[in-house]
Amino acid sequence: MNSPHNVEEEIDALLEKIKSEITPQLFEEVSKKLKEAVKKRRLRLDQASKIVEEVVKNYYRSLVDPGEAVGTITAQSIGEPSTQMTLRVFHYAGVREYNVTLGLPRLIEIVDARRQPETPIMEIYLTDDVKHDLEKVKEIARQIESTYIENIAEEFGIDYTEGVAIVKLDREMLIDKGVTVEMVIEVLKEAGIGEVEISSEDPYEIKVYLSEEYLDPVKIEKLRAKILQTQVKGIRNIKKTIIQKRGNEYVIIAEGSNLEEVMKIPGVDWRKIYTNNIHEIERVLGIEAARAAIIREIKNTLDDQGLDVDIRHIMLLADMMTWTGHVRQVGRMGIAGEKPSVLARATFETTVQKLVESAITGEEDTLPSITENIIIGQVIPVGTGLVRVYMNPSFNKKGEENMPSGEKNE
């Protein structure tokens, strides 16, 4: 009687009614599965209607109840598995050529919102036209990797009597890093420490005739460091690059991080470039990107350790960390330190200091939250404790309102 085509239309009509109530993702899924069931299992319309009803019911049941202490649950759900993380920092599994902070130290680093991660790493994806060509990829990697004179010098010395600094370059390293002698001379000239010229005996030996001011024996040691740290090429802070094959494309992994500059390199896919330095992401891509990065980093750190924490907890944590428009840490200088209640802040770290500070400024505590209410032994404002009785003094005993109309209280 019921042609399958007809049923499908009916189901669409049925689903249309609940569309505004459930999430788009859920809607898609229900719609797809119902239509499949109609085709394969000859689902009837009344059955479909029951299923839809059940879906909506279940959806509402799965929502967080008002007054649920989501923050506490998040804290416990992330805290408990973290205690089981192994403290392996310097062990790297398999053939990994680079060292990344993992596990608990990394997790602490993220929630503390450290300015600089211990091991900054960038993942540099490349545009379609170069990502399959190893030679071109190598070329880009060379452009990104920063090279200092100390990386390419075979010998370095300062002749105090004549006031000459001698840099002898390593031929093999020059080729490997793609640097020419001219480039080195150029940067040394720019450094402005004296006359630069190539030695007459050896084309790879560079002599720098130091100017008067640098000949002071006290300053000369500083000068040595200055010359060796002179950057010949590349991008600041990128110490090393590694080319990795992922699927059929090449990806550059860089030790060190400089999002802004690397994005500008031609051939780099700036839409996909990634760094594990969350502050840098905030600075270059904005707070929402930082939120996404926090979620991704925490999730990856926990997954690496084989811990299964629901993403919603991590999302809540990231939301709290980015609430003010800047990444702030979870600890005493951030979220916990900005609680409105004195007692709540004092319960966390540096109790005496917090109490003294608030005493000096004459702070008031209105006991708005959980911790302070536990301290004084009151019902905490969570769950059923959240409900308060409001009295409207303008109502008389019979429940009639005395107030003139138009001035109703809520």
Binding site: T23, P24, Q25, L26, E28, T127, D128, D129, M263, K264, P266, G267, V268, D269, W270, R271, K272, I273, Y274, I281, R283, V284, L285, G286, I287, E288, A289, A292, A293, I311, R312, M315, D319, T322, W323, T324, G325, H326, R328
Partner: protein, 85 residues
Amino acid sequence: MNGKINILEHELVPKHEVVPPEEAVDLLKKLGIEPWQLPWMSADDPVVKAIGAKPGDIVRIIRKSPTAGVFVAYRYVVVEVTKKS
């Protein structure tokens, strides 16, 4: 093919748009809150600059969410809030 760098197209950046003032009033009424009770967003934020939002604006953020598919969030654009030391 690489084109000019536009941070709004980066993978990590969700879609941002300024909510027009008329809509913003309705929105706040619906949520039953004052604007400052929304999460904040600094006026110095690169995305705020890119979409041309001003302090006092409400920005709608359409995120891809692993649990809800698409999630719409709002942020209130504020002048430099927490001076970082």
